[in-house]
């Protein structure tokens, strides 16, 4: 074979040196990096060395867990702002093709996208030769029951509870991500040339009377468009603001819930719920996290004890004498 290799190796071996010049040494640099002698942290995981870790984890996790658990359980009391949710079960808002079926540009107020929605919206892109606004399956399947809450006092008429429509969506969604199309004085004009989604009863510009909560920036709509991660989910419907510090937001008593039934769930064996909840710093009521922390903290602590025993029993084995096993 290969005289070429021969020559190559030679040439490769180092740059040719000038005749008469000193031979270039090919000795590799004796640096810590090249000689793989970089100072390194070399942890040796034995019972003795990691013992503190387990105890520390235990000692930190258990209090945290208790804290979370207590916080979560305290959510029961209806104080402060009360959040009103509607819940749907067995509704796969996370179905792959469902999730995709929207046009963010259209929702962002892009006028060209308004009249020519993305293909992703198919088959809810056009209806009767008119582009649907908002297009797509998500918008089409928007929850459209109305919930009204009444307090039945001791006496005669049920007093309606003030349900705040605004403030239920993310600020960024309402102000940045969702925008009504430009132009026109009134909303109807801006949505001119589009048609309502098939399942909707009224067009998008008639979702609410408040112009600041109408069209694409309707918060019910925005909330619905944030597709739920799991098939059983709740979505924020209304806010019940506390009136004063003295009274509970929702005083004890009998309440009356009036539901305008528009949304069929039977086809997918779904169930609807209405949830009233307050939220703490860690969100809604969920004991899981607290219990999990307590459990893991305890396990860690237990392991620490076991390791302590092991370390005690095999004390010799963790020092150098061990080498000679």
């Amino acid at each position: 074979m290969a005289m070429n290799y021969n020559a190559k190796d030679e040439v490769d071996g180092g740059p040719p040196c000038a005749p008469g010049g000193p031979a270039k040494t090919r000795r590799p640099d004796n640096t810590a990096f090249k000689q793989q002698r970089l100072p390194a942290w070399q942890p040796i995981l034995t019972a003795g060395t990691v013992l503190p870790t387990f105890f520390i984890i235990g000692l930190i996790f258990i209090p945290i867990g208790i804290g979370i658990f207590v916080t979560s359980n305290n959510i029961r009391e209806i104080e402060g702002n009360v959040f009103m949710y509607y819940g749907l079960s067995n509704f796969y808002q996370n179905h792959r093709r469902y999730v995709k079926s929207r046009d963010d540009s259209q929702l962002n107020g892009d006028s060209s996208a308004l009249l020519n929605p993305s293909k992703e919206c198919e088959p809810y892109r056009r209806n009767e030769d008119k582009p649907i606004a908002p297009c797509g399956a998500i918008a089409n399947s928007m929850f459209n029951d109305t919930l009204e809450l009444f307090l039945i006092g001791n006496g005669s008429y049920p007093t309606p509870i003030t349900l705040k429509k605004k403030g239920i969506a993310w600020w960024t969604d309402k102000n940045v991500k969702f925008r009504n199309p430009p132009g026109g004085e009134n909303l109807q004009e801006r949505f001119k040339g589009t048609t309502k989604p098939v399942n909707w009863l009224k067009p998008v510009y008639m979702l609410d009377s408040d112009p600041d909560n109408n069209g694409f920036i309707n918060e019910d709509f925005i909330v619905w468009m944030r597709t739920a991660a799991l098939p059983t989910f709740r979505k924020l419907y209304r806010l019940i603001e506390r009136k004063s510090d003295l009274h509970p937001t929702l005083p004890a008593g009998r309440y009356y819930l009036n539901i305008t039934y528009n949304y069929p769930v039977h086809s997918f064996d779904g169930r609807k719920r209405m949830i009233l909840s307050t939220i703490s710093w860690m969100g809604g009521k969920n004991p899981f996290l607290g219990i999990a922390y307590i459990a893991i903290g305890s396990i860690s602590f237990l392991l620490g004890v076991v390791l302590l025993v092991i370390n005690h029993k095999y004390r010799n084995s963790s020092n150098t004498a061990d080498i000679t096993i």
């Binding site: 190796d9 000795r27 093709r97 893991i296």
Partner: protein
């Protein structure tokens, strides 16, 4: 033309290789087998086409232009790509990789709307990144080749130009077929050309072919018949002939064609007339030739096959696991498809969240499930780690970088360090189980050093010489400036000479245009003294260590007795027998001429030295000497009293001596002599008179060869074997200098007698059957025909004249000499010296004529020619008179015994395969600790297959018996795949097998038995093995035992073995570059092997295997998150993470740490690994990466992904969380889990690790934050707008991440902790060593060793037997020899021999009783 063909072949090989072929078959490089004499296996081109070459000069222009474009010019291009075709061709090549095709398939699949899972473009990203990276790598490699090609193409040579009527400088690339080229000595031949003229009067040109076949000896080429006779140089203008020859082919040993003169006369051409590209002109002042093949059509280029593709065992293993991953993927996708079908079939009516097909149709569950299967494949594609292959390549590059930068591999003398020629099998170094080593040049230095000699029964031990060698060694080890410490200026002179001699060896293609001026080339030579190319040349130009021999003072004394003083009539005290003196003269003459050494002067241009003008020597004195010799030989046969050696020669010496002063004045004093006398420290061997003579001598010597004085010291000897050169140098030290050699005569300058020219009558070259060589010369003094024979002691001793006609006394003396010499020989052999016997025989002219006639018949016979020649040689080489014996040392390389010991401890079985004879091989085996004195040694040396079989079964039975006794295992079923582990059984056995027997053992029927036998032995020595046998042995072991093999060698004869083994290592040393070129790694010394294997091999293996495992873990863990989510989204293929984050997660956020881990991980420090070679065994057993560890890793990955999914799931269940809000903590926790998992697995963490890990985490957060902030609508239809920002403000996010990470890592962490405390592996235990101070370390090491011994229960016996045998002399090499001779006797008797060796029965008894005792108690 040929290049595309090679390319397609390579492509094909790669395709085959890429198709997950697991048997590890490799395409062998036939071209180099060819160099070893193998047959050409590439199909030669159709011979029907011939090529016609006419001079490239204008008178023939018309004719020349008839072949336009038919012949390529001399430009070469070894690059794969050009600028234009780089992209398509590289892509084409890359898509031959199955993995890449798979990902291409995924990309295409994603474009199918029905199954599309991601955005179309996004799936391409990983593939594009991978392809780009590989393309950049390929491009850089190719660019390197391009630069080298350019360098070679621009070398300058002298081409005849009609315009200038002279030879002008032109670049190699501009040389075309038909050009006339004139080359000076030491220039490299630019193209294949027919030799038309040589300055040599005989029309001979010497070329060195080491660039082609690695053989450094010179080969002769002959000027085309008819041109030899021309006195002047060939004139291209007048050259009117045309050459017709065969089409280009790759057969180096064939060239056919004819040269047709203008008068239609044809002259045949053969390979003898062809100068091959890449060879170097030697010993010839200038040559002229006409180019017949150029560029890629030269034989050298046609033999230039591309690099070999090897895949390491680890990678093969990884590939099978990739297949497992594919299976896993299919299962997961099937689950998804099935789940989707079932999910869909639950609903009867149209679903509000289920989008119908564009045509409004609802898919049937079955069809939807089918589509979902493919969607899932796209979604879960990451399970097949595309980045794994890229990462492996990067990691390997990093590993190679560190290997090449290891300062321990640096060889100061050669200025060379380890060369990694194969980039992708470094991790195989950590799994070697069998090591096959060449002996000469690999274990030994292949520097033959004359150590001792025995002449006429007297041993001359050359103590000064020994001292010199020691000091040499010290000088070398202490300081590279070794030459000054010994031999004084002579050393310097030799060194300088070496440099100037080597000047031209800039490799066959030359690094730069060769300069031809002596002076400048000298500086050039010293400038490049470090290039390893130079050092491959040392066979031809020996180092001062070999060339300087300090004479033994006693012998020198005796030698000086041939000076007149001895014979002076005034000196009454000299009573020494002249016979001895004459024997000594003959002995040294034999050393000087009984060889095939080529003599050359180093000055430029190198030329053969001949002194044809020896007639200038005064005939008169020569006549006198002749008379003397005649008289002596007459006396020898007639006078027993002289032969008895008791009386001084009475009459003859008087007349003899009276003439000697005259004679003495004739001798040429050489500087060597002077140096020698000085360096030998006042040995007082020169009398005043002699010095006086010495002073006179330059004047006297004026008559003959004028430059003789400088000549003697500056002669270069080029020998086929280093032994020959060593002997010639030894003779020179005794002022018996070989001065010139031509086919007809040899001239020896004998100090005392002046130059003697021997008429060379015949040479019977060395062959391995006769094990000897002879020269037949006519002695210039006695005018008799004398046969000098040199050969193996065993042979020569049998050929000595049994009965002497001169009666009892002489015979008796001969017998004493013989016995004494034999004793010395045994002594030499015991010291590991290579022994040779020198003998002579005087023939009468009639006897010679008789023999010659018969010999001629034999030479000319057609049938049985070989046998007849052998017989003829036998007729000549008999009734010899023993002159003496020599002991040549082929010194072990530094550190070889230690290395072999360490490798043994590492559980590597070492086989020594050598072409040497048994005795030498066994000796060296003992010297390098391959065999221990306590070893039970078996010798397989039989003449027939049946005998071999019987012998092997006998040995096996015995071994099994012993094993049963020592290990108390009732029955032992020896499974070939799982051989018994004898190293634990307490029996240490070695096997010696000769080439002949090896042939039987390699037969199909005996293979099994042979392997079974060898599996019992730690060491196997195969002697007299041919290159083919070497490779067959390796192949046998490799394929039948399924073990990892490594072959190491330095010469062309090791090439086949190097190529067959899993890893081939070339020792760049004495014998050319052939082995290095065929090898995967090239080192300069054997001892580097131990660090290469024990440290780098171990590291590379553990690093890469851990990294691969980690990759599998990482991908499975991450992909499973997606999989678990499918259970909650109707198996619809939704990803809860943004696609970009999903893709980049693997591509960027978690890719660098494993690579760093794969490059820098260090489980145990280098020192500890070297001190505890046992740690290597973990690699041999593939402990780091076995199916078990793979599945455990996968299980862990499953567990971690479950935790990572379900902790957030339970936390957020039932809440208003949206998809990406749910995915983000999952993703973030996964990142921490995956990175911290790496931290747990890392055994050492440097700042680089920290940097990369922290960097990865930061880049993840920076990316998600930036992406979340800026991308409002940019990534339709889904985007993670403001998700991370929301989460960063949410304490639950942190709580979830922390909890998830802790829960996921807890089991592995706990397992590692428990492992560290309760059942640490040897490697974990060895880690403690790194924390100790040096003193503690030695202590701990001692303890470790003791404990190791205790643990091996059966080995107690070994210890005890060693203790017991301590009292008596250990059965050592001598015992082996005794046994060996017994064997040979046995063979003669019954064709079967049972070799029970030096193992003494008492020991085995004691073993048995010990065992019985221990079992009883």
């Amino acid at each position: 033309m040929t290049e595309p063909r090679q390319w397609t072949r390579r492509c094909w090989q790669r395709l085959i290789g890429g198709a997950a072929r697991d048997d590890g078959e490799r395409s062998y490089d036939y071209s180099s087998l060819l160099a070893c004499g193998g047959k050409v296996s590439q199909t030669p081109r159709p011979a029907g086409r011939h090529r016609v070459v006419v001079p490239h000069l204008w008178p023939f222009k018309d004719e020349y232009e008839k072949f336009p474009g038919a012949y390529v010019n001399n430009r070469i291009r070894t690059t794969k790509y050009t600028l234009l075709n780089f992209v398509p061709r590289n892509l084409f090549e890359q898509f031959h990789r199955v993995a890449n095709l798979y990902f291409l398939f995924l990309v295409v699949l994603n474009w199918v709307p029905l199954v599309e899972a991601f955005q179309k473009e996004i799936t391409m990203l990983p593939l594009v990144v991978v392809l780009t990276m590989i393309a950049i790598k390929d491009g850089l490699e190719d660019y390197r080749k391009y630069k080298i090609d350019k360098q070679i193409n621009n070398l300058v040579t002298k081409v005849y130009s009609r315009k200038e009527k002279n030879y002008v400088d032109r670049c190699w690339k501009d040389v075309t077929v038909g050009d006339f080229i004139r080359l000076s000595c030491n220039e490299v031949i630019p193209a294949d050309m027919v030799l038309l003229f040589s300055t040599d009067p005989d029309g001979i040109c010497h070329i060195e072919t080491s660039g082609l076949d690695g053989e450094s000896n010179l080969k002769q080429r002959q000027v085309v018949r008819g041109y030899t006779e021309q006195d002047s140089e060939v004139d291209p203008e007048k050259f009117s002939s045309r050459i017709e020859c065969e089409s280009p082919n790759n057969d180096l040993n064939r060239f056919r064609g004819f040269l047709e003169h203008s008068n239609k006369e044809r002259v045949g051409l053969s390979k003898e007339n062809l100068l091959l590209r890449g060879c170097t002109i030697r010993n010839t002042e200038a040559v002229v030739g006409i180019v017949v093949y150029a560029g890629h059509e030269t034989k050298a280029m046609l033999n230039n096959s591309g690099p070999r593709y090897k895949r390491s065992k680890l990678e093969r293993r990884a590939n099978t696991d990739v297949l497992w991953c594919v299976l896993l993927l299919v299962i997961m996708c099937l689950t998804g498809a099935l789940g989707h079908g079932i999910w869909l079939s639950r609903y009867e009516s149209t679903l509000i969240f289920y989008i119908p097909e564009p045509d409004g149709r609802i898919l049937s569950p079955v069809l939807a499930g089918f589509y979902m299967f493919w969607t899932m494949i796209i979604l879960l594609q990451v399970l097949i780690p595309i980045s794994l292959y890229v990462s492996i390549e990067i990691v390997k590059l990093g590993q190679i970088y560190f290997i090449q930068n290891d300062v321990d591999f640096y060889n100061e003398k050669m200025n060379s360090t380890v060369q990694c020629r194969a980039l992708n099998i470094a991790e195989d170094l950590g799994q070697i189980q069998y090591l096959f080593s060449d002996k000469t040049g690999t274990l030994t230095e292949n520097k033959m050093v004359f150590r001792r000699c025995s002449v006429v029964g007297f041993d001359y031990c050359h103590e000064e010489n020994a001292k010199r060698l020691e000091s040499y060694q010290e000088a070398v080890s202490e300081d590279e400036d070794f030459t000054d410490t010994l031999g004084g200026s002579l050393g310097n002179m030799v060194k300088q000479r070496n440099h100037s001699c080597r000047t031209v060896h800039n490799g066959p293609m030359g690094r730069k245009p060769s300069t031809h001026v002596a002076g400048s080339s000298f500086t050039l030579g010293s400038g490049e003294g470090g290039s390893e190319m130079l050092h491959s040349r040392q066979a031809a130009f020996s180092s001062p260590m070999e060339t300087d021999v300090v004479p033994d003072t006693r012998l020198l004394d005796k030698f000086s007795q041939i000076t007149p003083q001895l014979f002076s009539p005034l000196d009454e005290t000299t009573q020494h027998p002249a016979l001895e003196t004459l024997h000594i003269i003959d002995f040294f003459i034999a050393l000087a001429i009984c060889n095939t050494v080529v003599v050359s002067a180093p000055n430029q241009p190198r030329q053969k030295i001949r002194c044809p003008s020896l007639g200038g020597m005064p005939i008169k004195s020569l006549e006198d000497i002749k008379n003397l010799f005649q008289r002596w030989s007459v006396r020898r046969s007639s006078s027993p009293s002289l032969a008895g050696g008791k009386e001084p020669p009475s009459g003859a010496p008087v007349s003899f001596v009276s003439r000697l002063p005259l004679l003495n004045r004739m001798k040429l004093a050489s500087p060597v002599e002077e140096e020698v006398s000085q360096s030998s420290g006042g040995s007082a061997c020169y009398t005043d008179t002699e010095k006086q003579n010495r002073d006179e001598s330059p004047m006297n010597g004026k008559g003959e060869c004028p430059p003789a004085q400088s000549l003697a010291s500056s002669l270069c000897y080029e020998a086929e074997s280093p032994d020959e050169a060593a002997l010639v140098y030894a003779a020179r030290a005794y002022q018996c200098t070989l001065q010139s050699r031509t086919p007809e005569q040899v001239t020896v300058d004998l100090a005392a007698l002046g130059p003697l020219t021997f008429q060379l009558l015949h040479i019977l070259p060395f062959d391995s059957v006769r094990k000897r060589m002879s020269v037949v010369v006519r002695h210039p003094l006695s005018n008799q025909v004398v046969v000098y024979t040199k050969g193996a002691d065993s042979v020569i001793m049998e050929l000595l004249s049994a009965a002497s006609p001169d009666g009892a006394s002489l015979e008796k003396q001969q017998m004493t000499i013989r016995d004494k010499t034999q004793k010395h020989l045994d002594d030499y052999a015991k010291r590991g010296l290579r022994t040779l016997c020198i003998a002579r025989k005087v023939m009468s002219d009639t006897e010679y004529a008789e023999w010659l006639r018969n010999h001629f018949l034999a030479e000319t016979s057609i049938d049985n020619r070989e046998e007849l020649l052998l017989e003829s040689a036998m007729r000549l080489e008999n009734k010899l008179t023993l002159l003496g014996a020599t002991g040549i040392e082929d010194r072990l390389q530094e550190g070889v015994p230690e290395s072999i010991e360490a490798l043994h401890k590492a559980g590597i079985k070492i086989w020594m395969l050598t072409g040497d004879k048994q005795e030498t091989a066994v000796n060296i085996a003992y010297a390098c600790k391959l065999l221990e004195p306590n070893d039970k040694l078996f010798v397989l040396n039989t003449q027939s297959q049946d005998a071999c079989e019987m012998l092997m079964s006998t040995i096996l039975q015995e071994l099994q018996k012993k094993y049963r006794v020592s290990s108390e295992q009732p029955s032992l079923r020896v499974d070939l795949l799982r051989p018994p582990v004898p190293q634990d059984s307490g029996i240490r056995a070695g096997l010696v097998i000769t080439g002949r027997t090896l042939e039987f053992a390699l037969q199909e029927s005996l293979q099994r038995q042979f392997l079974e036998l060898t599996s019992w032995c730690q060491a196997v020595v195969c002697c007299r093995a041919t290159p083919l046998q070497k490779s067959e042995v390796v192949k046998l072991v490799r394929s039948h035992l399924r073990v990892m093999t490594l072959a190491i060698g330095d010469g062309a004869n090791d090439v086949s073995m190097i190529q067959v083994a899993d890893i081939g290592i070339g020792v760049s040393g004495q014998e050319g570059m052939q082995a290095v070129m065929a090898s995967d790694f090239a080192i300069s010394q054997f001892r580097h092997l131990s660090k290469l294997l024990l440290v780098h091999g171990h590291w590379c293996y553990t690093r890469l295997s851990n990294m691969i495992l980690y990759f599998f873990y990482k991908n499975v863990a991450y992909v499973n998150l997606l999989f678990w989510y499918q259970f909650f989204c109707g198996f619809s293929g939704t990803s809860m993470t943004d696609y970009w984050v999903l893709i980049l997660f693997n591509l960027f956020f978690t890719s660098a740490p494993p690579v760093i881990y794969g490059v820098l991980e260090k489980d145990v420090s280098a020192d500890t690994l070297l001190q505890l070679p046992e740690l290597y065994k973990s690699g041999q057993k593939s402990e780091a990466y076995s199916p078990l560890t793979f599945w455990i890793t996968l299980l862990d990955a499953f567990y971690q992904s479950l935790v990572c999914f379900f902790v957030p799931y339970f936390t957020y269940r039932g809440s208003d969380i949206d998809i990406f809000m749910f995915g983000n903590p999952l993703n973030t926790a996964a990142l921490f889990i995956i990175l911290l998992h790496l931290v747990i697995e890392s055994k050492s963490l440097t700042w680089i690790h920290v940097l990369v890990i922290v960097g990865s985490i930061l880049s993840y957060f920076v990316f998600t934050l930036a992406f979340g902030a800026m991308c409002v609508t940019c990534n339709p239809p889904s985007n993670p707008y403001w998700i991370m920002q929301e989460h960063m403000l949410d304490p639950v996010f942190y709580l979830v991440c922390v909890l998830t990470t802790c829960v996921a890592l807890l089991p592995r962490f706990t397992y590692r902790v428990l492992q560290g405390s309760l059942f640490p592996s040897p490697i974990l235990r060895a880690k403690y060593f790194d924390r100790l101070t040096p003193e503690e370390r030695t202590e701990a090491l001692k303890k470790w060793r003791e404990a190791g011994k205790k643990n091996q229960l059966p080995s107690q016996c070994t210890d005890q037997s060693a203790d017991k045998s301590g009292g008596r002399p250990l059965p050592g090499p001598s015992a082996v020899f005794a046994m060996k001779s017994a064997t040979s006797c046995a063979i003669k008797q019954g064709d079967i021999s049972v070799c029970e060796t030096a193992f003494d029965p008492q020991c085995s008894e004691s073993k048995a009783s010990d065992m019985a005792g221990s079992s009883g108690s």
